[in-house]
């Protein structure tokens, strides 16, 4: 495909879609498909279309995450601008007919707070584009960013544009993306690599997986633009082995893009070469750390190595390597298409743009939401996601998985951005947000995260390997009513050691959940220690207490 053909294809597909009476889009990411059976519903809708004699007028296809994952499966009716949740196969004829009365109480309109309160950039194609059809992506303006950089811009200008946008890495650390690109672009090397870190392993985080499953071409386009900017010809997507559907979708997307000449030896018939290969993780959380990920792509044990040198200088097979995560790459094409000024107009001064959050736990509408950086937590949880269901009380929100901390009720108005969360002992992390109600014991939650880190520690450096074990043991002792106040000092000391001396981010961040619950919920720790009881009533020391 060359440039003219791309523009023509976009036009044709747009006109075709505009000529349809309706498009019914079934959410086809893992939650809705594998678990809640949206594939079967799609089949029934197909049958209903035949039955009502509407083929060619009404079309059914899959699409990216509609956001209401807690009420799966979800289906969207494109011309009615409505999304229906908890859909069953019996609803199919009504969907095709456009009978809205059937879905009373199960309808979320685009004007409702859930969608109207969001600002969708990364998820803009969810509900519009079928992840398995490259034409759909092109019709939605896809690959226009790549076209623009190839035909109008120099690599230097691309890097400058990303720098001006103020985009920061969405993997957790928040390093300015433009600066990272500049570092790689500046290296003199005949071989460079671009890696997409899709090893999203934080429990409770499913943004990246949803983007890969729902809009894979967007990530490929972002990677291709990055490769053009830094001068790379080979890319890798490192996908978590636990997400087989994401692997499949990405592979399909790469095949399609290569067939259409959007990836390969001559991208868009220009003198720019870029290929992408998929690498599948094999169940190691630590491989989300960039040097461990590199080791894993090289076929080795996924153990991190000390930095510096950082991957932009010495990465995959010793060559300069750019590593960004899925959400970061997913932001690139819109920035190029609409300009850095547009992107920088969203968010706060220090954190530009939007962020996708995965909401789970005790909340009315668990799922995916995307809001501008700096949106208060209260807005996300209560205005958009409907708050905590009746009968439960909000206790805390756990952000960013085992590396981050909790946000208690008194900080509900904190703006969600990198620095302000750090100030209250938490962090954005990758964007998981788990709402915890009063029935959950915070000490138990801390032990849960420590157990996770203990299992996932690679074992290379001593502070992490032995420190996680000791911290887990200490927490276990406290929960079982055999702890003492000296144990709290020990926890603090181990935390200090791990933060200061661990080799990689896993060990450095592992104490965070403990220290943040200790900071905000010390009374729960003390109740376990002094009164051998759990304030949440969830982990009352059972048989063990008899031993004391």
């Amino acid at each position: 495909m060359n440039i003219e053909e791309l523009i023509e294809t976009e036009q044709q597909e747009r006109e075709r879609q505009a000529g349809l009476r309706n498009r019914i889009l079934c959410c086809s990411v893992a939650g809705c498909t594998a678990a809640a059976g949206s594939a079967a519903i799609r089949g029934s809708i197909e049958a209903a279309i035949q039955e009502q004699g509407l083929p060619g007028e009404v079309e059914v296809c899959g699409t990216g995450c509609l956001g209401l994952c807690g009420h799966a499966p979800c289906v969207r009716s494109a011309n009615l601008n409505e999304t229906y949740h908890d859909v069953t196969a019996a609803d199919a004829p009504y969907l095709v007919r456009g009978d809205r009365s059937r879905f009373e109480g199960r309808t979320v309109r685009d004007t409702d707070a859930f969608y109207a309160g969001q600002c969708r950039v990364v998820l803009e194609n969810a509900g519009r584009v079928d992840p398995e059809r490259v034409l759909d992506y092109i019709a939605a303006g896809g690959y226009k960013g790549l076209l623009k950089v190839i035909s109008e811009m120099t690599p230097f200008e691309v890097v400058e544009e990303i720098k001006k946008s103020g985009l920061r890495g969405r993997g957790g650390a928040g390093y300015p993306t433009g600066l990272k690109w500049e570092l790689v672009a500046r290296q003199e090397s005949p071989v460079k690599y671009v890696i997409c870190n899709a090893d999203e392993g934080d429990p409770g985080a499913f943004m990246d997986r949803s983007v890969l499953e729902g809009d894979p071409h967007r990530v490929l386009e972002g990677m291709a633009i990055a490769a053009f900017a830094v001068g790379a010809t080979q890319g890798y997507i490192y996908v978590r082995g636990e997400s087989p559907l994401a692997v499949e979708r990405v592979r399909t997307a790469i095949r399609q893009a290569e067939r259409e000449g959007l990836l390969g030896n001559r991208v868009l018939d220009h003198n720019f070469q870029f290929r992408i290969d998929v690498r599948i993780g094999a169940g190691a959380y630590v491989c989300g750390e960039e040097t461990a990920l590199i080791a894993s792509i090289e076929g080795q044990r996924g153990t991190p190595r000390p930095r510096p040198p950082y991957p932009p200088e010495k990465g995959l097979w010793g060559a300069p390597t750019l590593i960004n995560n899925v959400e970061t790459f997913a932001n690139i094409a819109p920035i190029i298409r609409k300009g850095s000024a547009w992107y920088a107009s969203m968010g706060t001064a220090a954190s530009r743009g939007t962020k996708v959050y995965a909401l789970a736990g005790r909340i009315a509408k668990p799922g995916l939401v995307e809001v501008p950086m700096g949106t208060p937590l209260r807005t996300i949880l209560f205005d958009i996601a409907g708050g905590v269901p009746a009968g439960y009380a909000f206790k805390a929100a756990q952000t960013g998985g085992p590396a981050a901390g909790c946000i208690p009720a008194q900080h509900l108005d904190v703006p969600m951005e990198y620095e302000s969360l750090q100030a209250i002992g938490s962090m954005i992390g990758s964007g998981g947000l788990i709402v915890v109600d009063n029935s959950v014991c915070m000490v138990d939650l801390a032990r849960f995260f420590m157990e996770f880190c203990m299992d996932e520690s690679c074992g290379k450096c001593i502070p992490c390997r032995a420190g996680t074990v000791q911290m887990h043991d200490t927490l276990d002792r406290i929960i079982k009513g055999r702890g003492s106040e000296a144990d709290l000092d020990l926890l603090a000391e181990l935390a200090g050691l791990m933060r200061a001396t661990s080799l990689c981010g896993l060990g450095m961040a592992a104490p965070n959940p403990v220290m943040s619950t200790l900071r905000h919920f010390k009374d729960e720790y003390l109740a376990h220690i002094h009164e051998h009881r759990c304030l949440a009533g969830s982990c009352t020391p059972r048989e063990e207490v008899a031993l004391v």
């Binding site: 190691a284 000390p306 520690s457 450096c461 001593i462 502070p463 390997r465 074990v469 001396t501």
Partner: protein, 238 residues
């Protein structure tokens, strides 16, 4: 070749470009504690004992893997570093079964020496007492996992110097173990050449010669420098 001038613990020193802080300090009589580093092997920066403070750096840096820079100001023995090192040694002692009184390497153990020099007179964390195997299947040597600290010196010497790559690390986290060949008994290994280099570089009593009783295992770690110099510079000097 221009030398680099830097300050370590208040003394001015010089080092060659690319030389590590650890080496420059060591050559000038400042012995930074370490477990995984051994001259002649590539560094991995795993033990975190040789971490030092470098002015202008927010994080502690492993001195064995950080090259000297002009004008660097390094501190190797601040109270904070001492505190960290002490706790790391305590974690190591509690992780497996380090019972000096019945150890072949008693009196010639780098972990024991380090604990003594750091003043570790008791361990504040709980001893884990894991069940660890002792592999005595090799005709000349033994491997006692109870004493292993996973420094990976044996893995590297076997791969880089002997070229056999009998050893590697298997499993992960606290379950990580040094493994031979297919994770099978050392005596059944087809790649082991029985050269004994791993035994000599092991800092503790994890690898030992058979026949050594409590406190009798003495190791010659200087041999490594000897062979590496011989190989690289063609100079056979002890």
């Amino acid at each position: 070749m221009r030398v680099r001038t830097l300050e370590i613990d208040g003394q001015m020193m010089t080092g060659a470009p690319g030389e590590s802080i650890f080496n420059v300090a060591w050559n000038n009589g400042i012995h930074i504690p370490r477990m995984c580093h051994l001259g002649g092997l590539t560094d991995v920066g795993a033990c975190r004992l040789c971490l030092v403070e470098v002015e202008g750096q927010s994080r502690l840096l492993p001195s064995c893997m950080t090259p000297v820079r002009e004008g660097m100001v390094v501190r190797t023995n601040t109270p904070a570093l001492q505190k960290h090192r002490k706790l790391i040694v305590e974690l190591l002692l509690a992780e497996r079964n380090h019972v000096c009184a019945v150890c072949v390497a008693n009196g010639a153990c780098e972990l024991q020496d380090l604990a003594t020099s750091l003043g570790v007179d008791h361990v504040r964390v709980r001893y884990r007492h894991p069940q660890c195997e002792v592999d005595l299947s090799h005709p000349r040597f033994g491997l006692d996992h109870n004493r292993c600290i996973l420094c990976s010196r044996c893995v590297r010497v076997c791969d880089e110097v002997e070229g056999a790559h009998n050893w590697d690390i298997g499993h992960r986290g606290t379950n990580a173990r040094v493994i031979s060949d297919f994770g099978t008994a050392w005596g059944d290994s087809e790649s082991c050449t029985s050269c004994g280099k791993c035994v000599q570089v092991c800092p503790t009593g994890a690898l030992f010669s058979k026949g050594a009783s409590v406190g009798e295992m003495r190791k010659d770690r200087s041999f490594l420098k000897y062979i590496v110099t011989a190989r690289e510079k063609h100079q056979w000097i002890r």
